[in-house]
C-alpha cells in the first residue's frame, strides 16, 4: 500500500531578528493509513514545527525552505493558499494543546462545527448542524442536542478538547495531527481523551500523528515513534523496539531521566547535562555530541546519518548504545556514580515539624461589580489533617482544582485559613503577632512553579537572592553577598550569574535560582508548588536531583505539591492524595503507590501514562470516569462518589472516616476501600500521626 503521508527531507526555517532558526532540518518519515506515529522530543526540538509545516500553518517569519510533503502523492508544499485551505480541515484535521484559545468564545459550539463542515462540503445549514450533532455524539458529549447551543466557556477543559476533536473530525479527514492534545489536561481526563483518539482512529481508519513531550503518552498509543532532537529525527522505529532497545544515546538518556523508573529501582535520576543547542547556529557534527556521555572526537566533526542495522530501526549515531555495542560497564559508570544514600540524621530529625489540623479554606463567590453580593462558598480545602516530620518529603498530589496549591499558600502564609490550625514546631502560626509572623517566615519558604513570574524582571539575580536577607536584616552587606555566592555554588550556577537578569537564564537555571532564593534564609521547611512541571524531562531531572541532594545537605523538609505521580513518588517519603478539597488517602509513598486503599488513588495511578508499551497496553482499568464536580456545591457524603466505580447509597449519606491500613501511617477515607483496614476510624486530629 502506498503511504498516506510521505515527508521527505523537510526543512523549515523561521526568520527572527537574531538570525534564521533552522527549526526543522531534514526530517523524513512516512505514515500508512490507520497508523499512529508518535513524534516525541523536548521543547524547541522542532516537533510542533514539523506538524505545523504539514498544515502550512507556520508562524510569522516561518517558511518551508526545502523538501516535500506528499499526501496521497500530492505535494503539499507546491499548493497555493487556496488549494491548501481545501486540504486543511478536510483531508487533514488538527487538534491543538489549549482547547479554550482554539475555540471562538462568541460562537456556539454547534455553529463552529457546522461552519467547519460548510467550508468544505456543499451542504445546507441544517445538514451542517446535523453533522455537528453526529460528530459531537461520536466524541462522547452527553445530551448533544442541548449542548450544541452552548458556548465554549460552558464546557469543561476535557469537554472542550472533545469539541476540538469533533471539529477536526467533522469532514472525516484521513490524517489527524494531535499536537500535545492532553498536555493542558489532568491525567484522568488525559486518559479519556487519548482513548477517544485511539478509538476514533480505529473506527474511522484515520492515520494519526501524535506530537508530545511525554514518553508515557507515546508508549500506549503510537505504533511507531520518531524521537526528535534539535530539528532532526535522532531515532525512529516501532514503539516496542524503541522502549526495549533504544540505540541513540539521547533516547536512552530520556528514559533514564524519567522519575518513574528511578523511583522503582531506588536510583538517582540520570540528568542530561547542559541545554539543547542553539538552532540559529547549529553545531557541526552530531547535534547531541555536547551533551552525550559517549561522544568521541568523530561526533564533533562529522554528522552521523539516519541509518539502521535492522530494517525499520534507524538512528543518527556513530556509537549507538545497546547490548551489542561498546562495553556495558564503561557506559554505566557515568550514570550510577551516586553512592547509596544513608538516611538523613541530625538533631530534631524525625520530630513532627508541621502539623495541619482541621484546615479549612473557603472562598466567597460574589456577583456584581460594585456591591459584591455573596452568592455562595467555594470549598477549596475542607477539613484536612496531616503532619510532616523533620527531614522528610511530603508529596501532595491530585488533579487541578483539588486544593493542593491552596494548602501550599496557607502553609507559607499567602492565604489565611477559614478554619483549623497550622502548627509549626508546635506553635500555631495563625496565633502569632505580626512581628513574630515576619520572623517565622524565615523557617518556611516557597519555591514557585513559574520561576519566570516569581523573579522580578528588573532585578539582577544577585539582588534577588540578597533580598530575603535584607528584609530579615541578616548580616552585613558583605556577609550577604558572600552568602549569595555560596548559594549560587550550591545550586550549580556560576558566580557571574549574580550580575544577570532573570530573562537571561534558561528555564532550568531560573528554577535553580528560585530554589536558591528559597534557601537564602536557611529555612527548615520548603513548600515546592509544582517546581518542575514547566520543565522538560532532562532539565526536570537536573532540578529534582539538586533538590534531593540539597535536602540531605541542609536537612530540609519538603512539602512537595505536584500533579505528576511519578515525580512525587521519586521524591517523597509520604504521599497525601487530595480530591476536591479533601485528603482522601495518606501514607508512605511506596505503600500508597503499590497498595492504594482509596479507589481515587487507584484510578489516578491507572490514569497516569507509564513509559512502557507493555504496561500501557495491558491496562484494562478505565482510570477515573467523568470530571471533577464543582467545589461550590460539592457532593454530599464522600466527595468522590460521583465518579467512583464502587459507590453505593451510604457514600452519599455518610462522610467516610479516616481508617488505618497496613503500612505505617497509612490512612484512607473510604467506605469500600481496596485494602482491608487494620483499625477503626481514627480521630482526624491525630489521623496523620502514627502512634
Amino acid at each position: 500500500m502506498a503511504p498516506l503521508l510521505e515527508v521527505n527531507d523537510l526543512r523549515t526555517q523561521i526568520k527572527l531578528r537574531e538570525g534564521v532558526v533552522h527549526a526543522v532540518d531534514g526530517v523524513s518519515f512516512q505514515l500508512e493509513p490507520g497508523e499512529t506515529l508518535g513524534i516525541v522530543g523536548e521543547s524547541g526540538c522542532g516537533k510542533t514545527m514539523t506538524a505545523l509545516s504539514i498544515m502550512n500553518l507556520l508562524p510569522t517569519g516561518g517558511h518551508i525552505a526545502g523538501g516535500s510533503i506528499k499526501l496521497n502523492g500530492q505535494d503539499l508544499t507546491s499548493l497555493s493558499d487556496e488549494q491548501m485551505r481545501n486540504i486543511r480541515g478536510n483531508e487533514i484535521g488538527m487538534i491543538f494543546q489549549d482547547p479554550l484559545t482554539s475555540l471562538n468564545p462568541t460562537m456556539t459550539v454547534g455553529r463552529q462545527i457546522a461552519e467547519a463542515v460548510s467550508l468544505h462540503r456543499d451542504v445546507s445549514k441544517e445538514q451542517a448542524m446535523d453533522r455537528a450533532v453526529e460528530v459531537l455524539d461520536l466524541v462522547g458529549i452527553p445530551r448533544v442536542r442541548e449542548r450544541i447551543k452552548e458556548y465554549p466557556h460552558q464546557f469543561s477543559g476535557g469537554m472542550r478538547q472533545r469539541v476540538m476533536i469533533a471539529m477536526a473530525l467533522a469532514c472525516e479527514p484521513k490524517l489527524l495531527i494531535a499536537d500535545e492534545p492532553t498536555t493542558a489536561l489532568d491525567v484522568t481526563i488525559q486518559k479519556q481523551i487519548l482513548e477517544l483518539i485511539d478509538d476514533l482512529r480505529r473506527r474511522l481508519g484515520m492515520a494519526v500523528i501524535l506530537v508530545t513531550h511525554d514518553l508515557g503518552v507515546i508508549a500506549g498509543r503510537a505504533d511507531r515513534v520518531a524521537v526528535m532532537y534539535a530539528g532532526k529525527i535522532s531515532e525512529t522505529t516501532d514503539t516496542e523496539t524503541l522502549f526495549e532497545r533504544p540505540r541513540h544515546p539521547y533516547t536512552e538518556a530520556l528514559f533514564q531521566a524519567l522519575p518513574d523508573k528511578a523511583a522503582e529501582a531506588g536510583e538517582r535520576l540520570y540528568s542530561i547535562p547542559g541545554l539543547p543547542p542553539d538552532l540559529v547556529n547549529p553545531p557541526t557534527g552530531c547535534r547531541f555530541a555536547a551533551r552525550c556521555r559517549y561522544a568521541a572526537d568523530r561526533c564533533r566533526e562529522e554528522e552521523p546519518q539516519l541509518l539502521g542495522e535492522v530494517a525499520g530501526h534507524e538512528f543518527r549515531c556513530f556509537y549507538p548504545v545497546g547490548p551489542t555495542e561498546r562495553n556495558e560497564a564503561g557506559r554505566l559508570t557515568a550514570y550510577n556514580e551516586a553512592p547509596t544514600e544513608a538516611p538523613i540524621a541530625g538533631p530534631g530529625i524525625g520530630d513532627v515539624l508541621l502539623e495541619v489540623k482541621h484546615l479549612v479554606k473557603d472562598y466567597p463567590v460574589t456577583k456584581g461589580a460594585v456591591l459584591q453580593r455573596r452568592v455562595g462558598l467555594l470549598s477549596a480545602v475542607a477539613d484536612v489533617n496531616f503532619a510532616i516530620r523533620s527531614g522528610e518529603t511530603f508529596g501532595l498530589v491530585g488533579e487541578s482544582g483539588c486544593g493542593k496549591s491552596t494548602i501550599g499558600k496557607l502553609v507559607v502564609g499567602l492565604e489565611k485559613p477559614s478554619g483549623g490550625s497550622i502548627d509549626f514546631e508546635g506553635k500555631d502560626l495563625g496565633k502569632s503577632t505580626a512581628r513574630e509572623y515576619r520572623r517565622e517566615r524565615r523557617n518556611i519558604q516557597l519555591m514557585f512553579q513559574d520561576s519566570y513570574a516569581s523573579l522580578d524582571p528588573r532585578m539582577r539575580a544577585g539582588t534577588l537572592l540578597r533580598e530575603p536577607l535584607v528584609i530579615q536584616h541578616i548580616g552585613s552587606k558583605k556577609a550577604q553577598l558572600k552568602r549569595v555566592d555560596e548559594m549560587l555554588d550550591r545550586v550549580g550556577l556560576p558566580r557571574s550569574a549574580a550580575d544577570r537578569y532573570p530573562h537571561e537564564f534558561s528555564g532550568g537555571q531560573r528554577q535553580r535560582l528560585g530554589f536558591a532564593r528559597a534557601l537564602m534564609l536557611q529555612p527548615e521547611l520548603i513548600v515546592a508548588d509544582e517546581p518542575v512541571s514547566a520543565l522538560d524531562v532532562s532539565i526536570q531531572a537536573q532540578v529534582l536531583n539538586m533538590m534531593k541532594s540539597l535536602q540531605r545537605e541542609f536537612g530540609l523538609t519538603y512539602l512537595f505539591i505536584s500533579h505528576d505521580l511519578g515525580v512525587v513518588r521519586y521524591l517523597s517519603d509520604k504521599i497525601g492524595v487530595m480530591y476536591l478539597g479533601k485528603l482522601v488517602e495518606v501514607g508512605p509513598a511506596e505503600e500508597v503507590y503499590l497498595r492504594p486503599a482509596h479507589p481515587y488513588t487507584k484510578g489516578l495511578l491507572d490514569s497516569a501514562p507509564v513509559a512502557d508499551p507493555e504496561t500501557e497496553k495491558a491496562k484494562v482499568s478505565e482510570g477515573v470516569r467523568g470530571e471533577l464536580p464543582s467545589a461550590i456545591h460539592p457532593p454530599s457524603g464522600c466527595r468522590f462518589r460521583t465518579r467512583c466505580p464502587l459507590a453505593q447509597a451510604i457514600c452519599a449519606e455518610v462522610e467516610p472516616p479516616m481508617r488505618r491500613f497496613p503500612g505505617e501511617g497509612h490512612l484512607a477515607a473510604c467506605h469500600f476501600p481496596l485494602q482491608t483496614p487494620v483499625g477503626d476510624a481514627v480521630a482526624p486530629a491525630s489521623s496523620a500521626l502514627p502512634d
Partner: protein, 315 residues
C-alpha cells in the same frame, strides 16, 4: 476553522532554543553583563523610525531654541513693509500678514509648543501616575471612588471645556500648560492604575511576602520599577498629544496671544489668506512641523515601549 496558533511549550514562541546565547550549552555564562540602560538603547536603536524621530526632535529643539541666535529676525513688532512678502533671500519662507518672517515665527511658535508640550505632559503624567498608583494600591471602595472621578472627567468633551476656559481669561503659556494638564491627567491615571493592579498580583510580589517583607517594600522595590516603563512611554505620547491639543486651541483662536504665537495659531491666521491663493508658506511649514513633531514623538514612544520590555532586550 478555529485553528489558531497556540500557546504550547513547543509552540511558535519557543522555537528559539531555550538557552539564550549569553548562556552557553554548558551552563557557563559568558560575556560581561551590560547595563539595563545599554540594552534598552540597543533595542531602541533597532527601530530606525524611532531613531529618525529622535533625530527630528533634536533638530526641532535646536531649530527653535538655538535658531534665533543664528537666523535673527524682528519678532516683537509688526513690520508692515513686509506684508505677505514672498520667499526670498531676505525672508527664506516669506512673511505673514503682519510682516513677521515665517522662519522666525516658526521658531517662536515652536518654543511655545515644545515648552507647553513638555511641561503639560510632565505635570499630567506625574499627577496622573501618583493618583493611579494610589488608587490601584488601596483598591476596594477608595479605588472605585477615585476611578469614578476619572470617568467623570473623561466624559467631559475637553475641547469644549478648554474653549470656555480660554474665553474667560486670555491664556499665557503657564495657563495653557495648566489647562492641558488638567484635561490630560486621567489618561495616565487609568493606565498606571491598571498596571498597578496587575503588578500587585505578580508572583514576585508574593515572593516578598513569603520572605516576610512589608507592603511598602513590595511597592517601592518591585511594583514601581516595573511600572516606570509604562509611565515614561505614556509621557512620550503625552508630549505629542499636548502639542496636538495646543495646536487645536491655537487653530480655534485660543492659543498663545500676539505678539508671541504657536504653530496652531499660525495655521489659523494663514487660513484667512489661503483662499486668495498662492500664500502656501503661511500654512504648509507650520502644518508640516506639527505633523512631523507629533509623529516623531509617537515613534519614540513606540520604541521606548519595546526598550522597556526586558524580554525584547538582547537575549
Amino acid at each position: 476553522m478555529a485553528m489558531m496558533p497556540h500557546a504550547d511549550p513547543a509552540g511558535p514562541g519557543t522555537v528559539i532554543p531555550e538557552a539564550p546565547p549569553a548562556v552557553s550549552a554548558a551552563g557557563q555564562i559568558q560575556a560581561k553583563p551590560r547595563s539595563m540602560f545599554r540594552r534598552g538603547w540597543e533595542v531602541f536603536a533597532e527601530n530606525k523610525l524611532a531613531l529618525a524621530g529622535l533625530g527630528f526632535v533634536i533638530f526641532v529643539v535646536l531649530f527653535c531654541f538655538v535658531g534665533p541666535h543664528i537666523y535673527s529676525t524682528p519678532q516683537a513688532t509688526v513690520q508692515t513693509q513686509d506684508y505677505l512678502c514672498h520667499p526670498s533671500g531676505a525672508h527664506l519662507l516669506g512673511c505673514d500678514e503682519l510682516g513677521y518672517d515665517i522662519v522666525g515665527r516658526l521658531m517662536v511658535g515652536g518654543q511655545n509648543d515644545i515648552e507647553v508640550g513638555l511641561a503639560a505632559a510632565f505635570i499630567a503624567c506625574l499627577f496622573g501616575s501618583i493618583y493611579g498608583a494610589v488608587s490601584g494600591f488601596i483598591g476596594g471602595t477608595v479605588d472605585a471612588f477615585m476611578m469614578r472621578i476619572v470617568d467623570a472627567i473623561l466624559s467631559i468633551p475637553f475641547v469644549f471645556v478648554l474653549v470656555v476656559l480660554a474665553r474667560l481669561f486670555h491664556p499665557g503659556t503657564v495657563e495653557l500648560i495648566g489647562l492641558i494638564a488638567v484635561t490630560y491627567w486621567p489618561a495616565p491615571a487609568r493606565l498606571v492604575r491598571g498596571e498597578t493592579l496587575t503588578l500587585r498580583t505578580r508572583e514576585y510580589v508574593a515572593a516578598v511576602k513569603v520572605a516576610g517583607g512589608r507592603n511598602s517594600r513590595a511597592v517601592l522595590r518591585h511594583v514601581m520599577p516595573n511600572a516606570v516603563g509604562t509611565i515614561i512611554v505614556q509621557a512620550t505620547f503625552a508630549v505629542a498629544d499636548s502639542i496636538v491639543i495646543l495646536s487645536s486651541l491655537g487653530f480655534l483662536g485660543f492659543g498663545i496671544q500676539l505678539p508671541s504665537t504657536d504653530w496652531g495659531s499660525m495655521l489659523s491666521s494663514g487660513l484667512n489668506f489661503i483662499q486668495q491663493g498662492g500664500y502656501w508658506w503661511l500654512i504648509y511649514p507650520a502644518g508640516l512641523l506639527i505633523i512631523a513633531t507629533v509623529v516623531s514623538f509617537n515613534f519614540i514612544g513606540d520604541a521606548l515601549r519595546d526598550a522597556f520590555e526586558t524580554r525584547l532586550q538582547r537575549r
